[in-house]
């Protein structure tokens, strides 16, 4: 792999991943609403409407159309934009994309990427603020990634496009402007199914899920200043979950705090917690802690909304409870 890198924002990493894969493989197409004005618009410099399909507001059918194209030789990317809209396409994603390979005994293959961006903490109220990844973890047959850095976004989105199975790629709009060095090698990939230890530490494991990472890193740096060495494990892929990395970290630190933007009941944190409890219980010296969004709808007013999401303060408080 080339060692060259350049600085990209998280948003630019999404565009570049798609551009590179569309240049590399003519079977890759992009389907989505208003892609000519939103995130996909820079791609119109390079590609035309044959492969960039601006669609009417018909989420279930354009998601299914992507699946049909995937079944017959293309590798579509379906941009569902705001993650709350994924529910409109859920029938096709769950009943067709996730099931067709299995139900046909492997006769069919569904190489498709569904992109969805979590918008939250920006006063959009409940119908534009969902973080719905845990729902889809209960659907065998879907792979789910939720990258939190420009590097991981580019590498995982490219890996998702090259994967032969349906992959849900969840983005976080609060990270769009984050910048970092990203390898320029067009074959740079981040493997699906591998967590990443962002900071090594020995006192407590902080499991970061999706866009929580900057807050988890902030909390870890603050703890470090106070003499507590937190290990930050960025899960990156939700399905298949990298249980080995999780369990190895907890075996070392003996304590686990899991940070997740999704609602508490049936959250990603719930599943991570269950894995650690079932398979790492004897490593633990304190109860597992989850820092999540409470089970309440997302309100419009910032005064009500902002306190709901995991914050550095809440993460640090949870760490204090297990030490």
């Amino acid at each position: 792999m080339s060692s060259q890198a350049r600085e990209l924002t998280y948003l630019k990493a999404i565009v570049e991943a798609q551009r590179e894969e569309m240049l590399r493989d003519e079977r890759v197409i992009l389907i989505g609403e208003n892609i000519d004005i939103y995130g996909g618009s820079p791609l119109f410099d390079t590609f035309d409407e044959k492969r960039l399909r601006n669609v009417p507001i018909s989420e279930n059918s354009f998601a299914g159309m992507g699946i049909g194209a995937a079944l017959t030789g293309l590798r579509p990317i379906v941009d569902l934009t705001i993650a709350s809209f994924v529910y409109l396409a859920a029938d096709q994603i769950i009943n067709q994309a996730a099931k067709l390979r299995y139900m046909t005994g492997g006769q069919l293959s569904v190489p498709i990427v569904f992109r969805a961006c979590t918008y939250y903490n920006i006063c959009n109220a409940a119908q534009h603020s969902d973080r719905p990844y845990p729902f889809f973890m209960n659907v065998p047959g879907l792979k789910i990634v939720a990258p939190a850095t420009p590097r991981d976004m580019k590498g995982l989105l490219k890996a998702a496009i090259r994967d032969d199975d349906p992959v849900l790629v969840f983005e976080d709009m609060n990270l769009w402007t984050q910048k970092a060095e990203v390898p320029t090698d067009p074959d740079f990939l981040v493997p699906i199914g591998k967590a990443d230890v962002k900071i090594e530490g020995s006192d407590v494991t902080l499991v970061s899920i999706a866009g929580c990472l900057p807050r988890v890193m902030g909390a870890a740096h603050g703890l470090r200043a106070g003499g507590i060495a937190a290990e930050v494990v960025d899960l990156r892929t939700l399905v298949p979950m990298d249980r080995q990395t999780l369990l190895e970290s907890v075996a070392k630190t003996h304590r686990a705090v899991i940070i997740d933007n999704s609602h508490r009941t049936g959250s990603v944190a719930s599943e991570v917690s269950a894995v650690i409890a079932e398979e790492g219980f004897h490593s633990l010296r304190a109860p597992i802690q989850r820092v999540t969004t409470p089970d309440v709808q997302i309100p419009y007013s910032a005064a009500l909304e902002k306190p709901l999401y995991p914050s550095e303060e809440r993460i640090v408080a949870a760490v204090k409870r297990v030490l």
């Binding site: 399909r53 279930n60 299914g64 049909g68 194209a69 293309l74 009943n95």
Partner: protein
């Protein structure tokens, strides 16, 4: 009562059936009918769980399939047995699938509602009503992007016409002139709900005008008529002119599914008897075959060969092994992810 033939679109009938195609059409209809009759007997005897019979709808299915090439795509429905047989599939893996065997077309993962055989172009038999319509539309998109001259044909029922996917997908196909044939097998009842009680007006094909595409109504019991309308739609799709909605008025002989006890008289015994006696697709086509100069011996020969084929399919299905429970994760992902059983997964 059997319906009258109507035509809302003056689609010129291209390509009348040749004698050879007319015979092949009969052979395929007989294969569906005898497969269904035998499967119903075996399921009733408890050899496997339920099924949705296609008996009565053979001309609609086969007439459409005869107008397609081997490399054209099809999506189908929960009433899934007829579509692969109509497109020419081998009966043995289909019957083995009903028995849940390892030799089944879907390796025992699909069953009666999902007899999708990719070898004959089937990319899904959806038991979610209306679920296959976007898939067929996507196949049309793929054909257009790849610059191929294939077409995609979507079988769905009158019930599916009331799903959102119907309206959404017809619109998508219309926008880009995708090479898709939306083929409604209108058997007049969504389980027990008649079309007249679930549609604002009874003709699904009339909805095509709202999307700016042609809509054609054909007598779904008459193979040649279905074939001619589909051949015209296929020619239109291959030429780049876009999609067509075809509505074949047809009728199912059996209940919605085996074992379903419908406590209301949603259709009359007289209606069913009238279809069987006056509008049976096999009987009607036998009369047509005579006009092609096909003699009774040729017809009997087809019946005999199909009977042997069905008997062999049952025999192979019965003798085949069940799938190994240790392989239950196979086909979930392209690169299998196996969880250790002792972890409770």
């Amino acid at each position: 009562m059997p319906h009258e033939q109507q035509s809302s679109e003056s689609s010129s009938s291209q390509g009348r059936l040749t004698r050879e195609a007319a015979l092949e059409g009969y052979r395929r209809m007989v294969r569906i009918r005898r497969f269904e009759e035998e499967a119903m007997r075996r399921a009733t005897a408890g050899e496997f769980s339920g099924m949705h019979s296609s008996s009565g709808q053979e001309a609609a299915i086969v007439g459409a399939c005869l107008a397609l090439r081997d490399d054209d795509y099809i999506t189908g429905t929960h009433r899934s047995h007829g579509h692969p047989i109509g497109k020419g599939a081998d009966l043995k893996p289909l019957m083995a699938e009903l028995y849940g065997k390892a030799t089944g077309i879907c390796r025992g993962r699909g069953g009666s509602m999902h007899l999708a055989d990719r070898k004959v172009g089937i990319i899904g038999e959806s038991a979610i009503v209306g679920g296959g319509i976007p898939l067929a539309t996507g196949a049309g998109l793929s054909i257009q992007v790849r610059g191929s001259d294939q077409v995609s044909l979507c079988f769905f029922g009158d019930g599916a016409a009331n799903q959102g996917t119907f309206a959404e997908s017809l619109n998508l196909a219309a926008i880009w002139k995708l090479p898709v044939i939306f083929f409604c097998e209108n058997n007049l009842y969504a389980i027990s709900t008649p079309v007249v009680k679930s549609h604002g007006q009874p003709d699904v094909a009339k909805r095509a005008g709202g999307f700016g595409i042609p809509g054609v109504i054909v007598d779904g019991q008459v193979l040649s008529e279905v074939y001619e309308a589909t051949a015209a739609a296929v020619a239109r799709a291959r030429s780049g002119a876009g999609p067509t909605l075809i509505e074949a008025k047809t009728y199912r002989y059996d209940e919605h599914c085996l074992g379903l006890q419908v406590p209301i008289a949603y259709r009359t015994a007289e209606e069913l008897a009238a279809y069987r006696s006056q509008k049976d697709p096999l009987s009607l086509h036998r009369a047509e075959l005579a006009r092609y100069g096909v003699n009774a011996g040729d017809v009997a020969d087809i019946e005999k060969k199909v009977a042997a084929e069905v008997a062999e399919a049952v025999s192979v299905a019965r003798e085949s092994p069940f799938p190994d429970p240790a392989e239950v994760y196979d086909y979930l992902f392209s690169n299998p992810i196996h969880y250790p059983p002792d972890s409770g997964r």
